[in-house]
Amino acid sequence: MARHKTTSAAGMTRRERYDAQQRRRSLIVAASSTAIVLLAIVLLVPMAPGWEKVQKSFFNGAVLAKSFPKLLDAFLINVMIFAWSAPAIAVLGLLIALARDATAPALFPLRIFGAAFTDIFRGVPVILTVYLIGFGIPGLGLPRPWNSPYIWGSLALILTYSAYVAEIFRSGIDSVHHSQRAAALSLGLSDRQVMRDVVLPQAIRNVVPSQMNMLIALQKDVSLLSFIGPVEIFRQAGVFKSLLANFTPYVGAAIIFLAVTIPATRYADHLLARQRKERR
């Protein structure tokens, strides 16, 4: 009988009705405030005295149409460099992480190496590494095609990003509860088997969202290779900028980057949110 008092015809309790009403209200408030801000930008920015000049040199439709297909072509180079660097980074990063956590005394040099590696490559700006390796190693006198800036530039990215990725893997290894190790050891597995079959699969799964963020950063940093020759999207935009005395090609490049990185970022956030929910 008491239930009848609080249940409406729609079958909702009064708490549910109240929550639904609150949700509707906040939705309306959010939508209208967003609309007002957008409207203000669309209406007010063109009223700024410099807007026409800015529009002409940053948002020039004719220039965008002219440069966009070539920018897309150039972006394929970014994709290519990304495609071969990312797996190498994953493998090297994992090896460095394992080297840093090696406990056997014979592997002590490996630990030292791992620590030095991460310290050095996390401590130096990527662009410097790209320059030093991209021009430096081929400068030693390697024959073509082994002196290609694609090879050595990619290596610079691989080394730098492996250092970061290794640290993330290590935090992932630490995040696996020690009772998992104990359980695996109690079954008679060796240290190596415990790491390979029990710890690593969980560690890697735990750090997937963080590593996704590294991939997104890598995707952007591929453009740093433009400094040592490859005509990827950032350089191609720069060529257009100089040729046309217009910054719109940079805006075009930004649009292409965003088209890739926004979905990737959303996906990484989604993975992270799901993982948080699972842990709860």
């Binding site: 009772s179 998992q180 359980a183 695996a184 109690s186 008679g188 597995l189 029990v198």
Partner: protein, 243 residues
């Protein structure tokens, strides 16, 4: 000669002495229950027997062979002594079946196909046939703990150690796990339990040991230890525990 013999076992963590000279004989086919308040050294003692913790002093002998010699490769011993933990510790990234087959595949190098029939039999015997392909997070606590037991049994151990395996379970799930222990006892498994289940210890154990401050204060058959405890500390503990 007893199956498992502990002689003056001492275990310290830094300045804290957790096991302080434990002497204990466990005969083949016996179920021995370790009771006592938390922090008395029950769990640590089990971890020492499984060589998860090295001991500072004393000896642990399995079939008369000293397995606590420093430098001994622990893998062979652990393959002969199974252990089950309070929090199940199933591997969350594997199905129940994969959890169970991992150690035999890696340690005994037995291929999956060859393992499969025996492992399926184990699952059926403990009422888990329907659950073989589930991941741990799809199982109840009781089911997880039974899978953990099956996982240890799949290595065909000679001795099983149980570390408060019902403490994390909802009360209504405790029974199904204790039933498994009774089943194992009937099959003649040598078992050592650290437990808070006084009723179970009293009914099922062949020998009960009361531990306090890293020592066995008193040990004997359950009817003697529960019925006519001699030591005042045992009496005090039981008075509290059986209230």
């Amino acid at each position: 000669m007893a199956k498992l013999e502990l002689r003056g076992v001492v275990k310290r963590f830094g300045d804290v002495t957790v096991c302080n000279g434990v002497d204990l004989d466990i005969e083949a086919g016996q179920m021995v229950c370790l009771i006592g308040a938390s922090g008395g050294g029950k769990s640590t003692l089990l971890r020492c027997i499984n060589l998860l913790e090295p001991i500072e002093d004393g000896e642990i002998r399995l079939d008369g062979e000293d397995i606590s010699v420093p430098g001994l490769d622990p893998q062979g011993v652990r393959a002969r002594i199974g252990m089950v933990f309070q929090n199940y510790n199933l591997f969350p990234h594997m199905t129940a079946l994969e959890n169970v087959m991992l150690a035999p595949r890696r340690v005994h190098r037995t291929p999956r196909d060859q393992l499969r029939p025996a492992v399926e039999t184990l699952f059926r015997r403990f009422g888990l046939a329907e659950r073989m392909h589930n991941y741990p997070d799809q199982l109840s606590g009781g089911q997880q703990q039974r899978v953990a037991i099956v996982r240890a049994l799949a290595m065909r151990p000679e001795v099983m150690l149980f570390d408060e395996i019902t403490s994390a379970l909802d009360p209504q799930l405790v029974g199904e796990v204790l039933d498994v222990l009774l089943q194992l006892k009937q099959e003649g498994m040598t078992m050592v339990l650290a437990t808070h289940e006084m009723g179970f210890a009293r009914e099922a154990a062949d020998k009960v040991c009361f531990l306090k401050a890293g020592r066995i204060v008193e040990q004997g058959p359950p009817e003697q230890l529960f019925g006519t405890p001699e030591h005042p500390e045992t009496q005090a503990f039981l008075a509290r525990a059986l209230k």
